[in-house]
């Protein structure tokens, strides 16, 4: 039995049409100035060649921790300028800055937005939600079908390790570039899609190279309020064409304020911790001897989840210094009818941004009644249970065993005994009585 749910998908491109998903696209030229062979030859786009930074450090004088005071980075300027340009050209379905938003009062600071226009569509489509890995389907919508005007620039590593920008560069069809495109139904200002090697039409699944690209982008932007996110299939990815999302919001996300308890450190220096005092259980990855080390540990973990058909979301935060991994099971619960109707009514699909604490609400009623308790309850439904997370964690650790082999002779089981229960009890004590304690499902 295949698990399916009905969902109104989010439109991310102006050329995303439902018919395309049903499979009757005509072949040949389309007159839409897209990125396929019909329109691509001769096309030019700006090209941003980034510096492959070896390590994001916090040393004074190098990368600023307090990025608020550092001048706006060039990548930021480029992205913001291009985005505003598309804004003024009317390419977005609505002005996201006209959507009311607020921080929900409480200890965690969940962020709610009232956005009635984001999920507007007539007929809901059925999504298969029980397979994290699904082959790319040319007949369904993918990003080569977007209009070129929706693409802001190509994003490639620089050849000589210096940042380079070319306002107009040809697109190398043989060696597909990665690009940054707008999301026409933005969650926040600057909402873009990072599409690795777009012309290769990779399905939505993480691989080492793509994840590293996303991490480089986070580091290059150097802005702690520019975060990248990833949703696997089954965890509310809308399109089965490999992409990351990113946008600007200059407030801390609740997940970023959550405490964490260290589990272990890999021998490449990547620290892996468990998220504490937060409704969604998951792991945090940080540090690492090099950026690439951090990237590989995370992508190997994601690959493990994919291979085991466990849907998950990833948040790259703090300019690439901290990466959160959330295995989830909400879609499965939904398909099996295990989610309360009250929660289903809000029609919040808990993807990476919602899980991180940024909720986009469609109904005024939900927005006005938004409370920390509600937010917590919704996210708690998304979370794996404590036991299940332990199982998943073990799976991951087995998969990345090569990274944490410890020549001091300490076995992984010993290292896992960073029994954080005393801490979490403490946290509960410290909380006000206003929201429910973390109860393992």
């Amino acid at each position: 039995m295949m698990l399916r749910i009905k969902r109104v998908p989010t439109v991310v491109s102006n050329y995303q049409k439902e018919e395309a998903e049903e499979g009757d696209r005509p072949a040949g030229g389309c007159g839409r100035n897209c990125l396929r062979n019909c329109c691509l030859p001769g096309a030019k786009l700006p090209l941003y060649a980034f510096k492959r930074v070896n390590k994001i450090s916090c040393d004074k004088g190098l990368v600023d921790c307090e990025d608020k005071e550092a001048p706006v980075a060039f990548l930021d300027s480029l992205l913001l300028g291009e985005w505003e340009d598309r804004m003024q050209r009317g390419l977005f379905r609505y002005d996201v800055t006209a959507c009311e938003t607020k921080v929900i009062p409480g200890e965690h600071g969940f962020i709610a937005q009232l956005n009635e226009g984001r999920h507007l569509k007539k007929r809901p489509t059925e999504f298969q939600v029980d397979k994290v890995l699904q082959p790319f389907d040319e007949n369904k919508f993918n990003f080569t079908k977007v209009g070129q005007e929706e693409v802001l620039f190509q994003f490639e590593p620089s050849n000589d390790n210096e940042v380079q920008f070319l306002p107009s560069a040809p697109i190398d069809v043989e060696n597909s570039p990665s690009v940054v495109a707008i999301n026409v139904s933005p969650i926040e200002y600057g909402h873009v899609l990072l599409i690795p090697r777009i012309l290769e039409c990779l399905p939505q699944r993480i691989d080492r190279e793509s994840f590293l690209l996303a991490l480089y982008m986070a580091a290059e932007a150097g802005n702690p309020y520019f975060r990248l996110g990833y949703n696997s299939l089954g965890a509310f990815a809308t399109i089965n064409h490999l992409h990351f999302q990113a946008y600007y919001l200059a407030v801390p996300f609740p997940i970023e304020k959550a405490t964490s308890g260290k589990i272990t450190t890999t021998n490449s220096g990547v620290k892996i911790s468990k998220i504490l005092n937060y409704p969604v259980r998951g792991l945090v990855f940080e540090c690492g001897n090099t950026l690439e080390d951090l990237s590989n540990v995370v992508s190997d973990s994601c690959i493990c989840l994919q291979d085991n058909n466990i849907p998950y979301n990833v948040l790259i935060s703090d300019s690439g210094r901290r990466i959160f991994l959330f295995p989830q099971c909400y879609a499965e619960k939904q398909a099996l009818g295990e989610v309360s109707p009250e929660l289903l009514d809000t029609q919040v699909n808990p993807a990476v941004w919602e899980i991180s604490g940024h909720m986009v609400l469609k109904r005024k009623k939900d927005y006005e009644e938004a409370s920390e308790g509600n937010a917590w309850r919704l996210l708690a439904e998304v979370s794996l249970s404590e036991e299940r997370l332990e199982e998943v964690k073990d799976l991951i650790f087995e998969a990345i065993a090569c990274h944490i082999y410890d020549d001091k002779g300490v076995t992984p089981t010993l290292l896992e005994e960073s029994d954080v229960t005393p801490q979490s009890l403490e946290d509960v004590d410290a909380l006000t009585g206003s929201h429910p304690a973390m109860v393992p499902a």
């Binding site: 307090e66 300027s77 913001l80 505003e84 006209a98 959507c99 920008f165 200002y189 919001l249 403490e426």
Partner: protein, 399 residues
């Protein structure tokens, strides 16, 4: 043109009577005073106590931002908390790991508090007090290093004690689980030092009292010396900042945008300028206080085309962005063609809060910087301002 150092001098001189620096230096405590209205949120005063603890000279510190004392092991959570407190213009007390000039790290209790202007309720300065936390000898640590026998017995109690510590991400578990015996010998001394550094030790009431007293003293001196100039300050916000001038955090964020632009408030009579970037002041030759509170029409003059001015008015009325080429005049009366882009900027309520005007000197318009055309750079200012205004007003209702 106001130099950075000049602005820093003024930060004190305009607000406090002479002798304030000497009076502050009579206090034994370690503290710094920063000005959020100057681009970069720099330190404008550092006490002798501070310089002694950190090992810097006055010149090495004045004009710099507080993050210069942070380093690789500085806990990001505390940094985030401080950032939030600045944004919300409130006091905070938190443990923070800082580095001295010689590179040695140390833990301190950092207590920061805003100083408000009495008439307008604006934040004039932030006072930051540093109280070093001495490393108290811990039974646990000596147990780990020397007496292996006790470790296992006291294991459980020891662990509890550790977790009552302020910093939760303690790496001690690895050491503990190694158990007794020879395994401990393999815990080399660098690990021990690392453990020491990662542990902040608990702040005792003593440190907190010291911090509170220091802040109190500094505020007294500042308040007293502000009475003499008539521009009073106080430790609590006495009235709502209704003059339209921006809060510190928005000021700080906008200060990062190194281009010429102003923010005007359409809800105030005659739509005055409430923010002007340093580059704008350089371009037009005016000082900040000559510009804030005035409508930007002062830039226009005899030969400015009234039709263009009307076009601007219309765009503002309809809340639409527009680009015009308008003849403007600097303070010294020299004219220049201003490629001006104006756009409405909404805050978290979704309604228009400001209009941003981004100026390009037409004679420089073909200068590309990094390959970005001036027009694109203008739009990037609009984007950056939109992000800042929206984000920084998001929590307004709750604070």
């Amino acid at each position: 043109m106001e130099s950075q150092l000049g602005l820093i001098e003024q930060s004190f001189d305009l607000r406090y009577s002479g002798g304030v620096r000497e009076a502050l230096n009579e206090l034994p405590d370690s503290f710094t005073i920063t000005d959020p209205c100057i681009s970069g949120h720099p330190i404008v005063f550092a006490s002798n106590g501070f310089l002694k603890i950190f090992g810097y000279s006055k010149d090495e510190v004045i004009g710099r931002n507080g993050r210069m004392f942070q380093g690789p092991k500085t806990n990001r959570r505390s940094v985030m908390e401080i950032r939030e407190a600045i944004r919300e213009e409130r006091a905070i007390q938190t443990n923070l790991l800082n580095y001295r000039k010689d590179g040695t790290p140390f833990w301190m209790l950092f207590h920061m508090c805003p100083v408000f202007g009495k008439e307008d309720g604006r934040v004039i300065h932030f006072v930051g007090v540093q109280v070093p936390i001495p490393r108290r000898p811990r039974r646990s640590r000596s147990t780990v290093v020397g007496n292996t026998g006790n470790l296992c017995e006291n294991g459980a109690r020891f662990r509890e004690g550790m977790f009552r510590c302020c910093r939760r991400e303690v790496c001690l578990d690895t050491v503990m689980e190694l158990g007794c015996g020879s395994a401990l010998d393999s815990v080399s001394s660098p690990d021990d030092r690392e453990i020491e550094i990662n542990e902040p030790c608990e702040t005792s009431e003593l440190e907190k009292r010291k911090a509170n007293a220091a802040v109190s003293n500094v505020l007294s001196v500042l308040t007293h010396h502000s009475e003499l100039t008539g521009k009073l300050v106080c430790g609590k916000r006495c009235c709502l900042s209704g003059t339209g001038l921006l809060g510190s955090s928005l000021n700080i964020s906008l200060g990062r945008i190194k281009q010429s632009f102003v923010l005007s408030d359409p809800h105030l009579p005659d739509m005055p300028i409430v923010y002007a970037s340093d580059t704008f002041l350089e371009l037009t030759g005016y000082a900040r206080h000559e510009v804030l509170g005035h409508n930007s029409r002062f830039l226009s003059g005899l030969d400015t085309d009234p039709a263009t001015q009307f076009q601007i008015k219309e765009c503002i009325r309809t809340e639409q962005p527009c680009t015009v080429r308008i003849l403007n005049y600097r303070k010294d009366k020299t004219p220049f063609w201003n490629l001006l882009h104006i756009s409405p900027v909404r805050n978290a309520s979704g309604k228009v809060a400001y209009f941003v005007g981004v100026q390009i000197d037409d004679s420089c318009k073909n200068q590309e910087e990094h390959g970005l055309s001036p027009q694109r750079r203008q739009l990037s200012v609009v984007g950056a301002v939109k992000v800042a205004v929206r984000s920084l007003s998001i929590g307004a209702s709750t604070s």
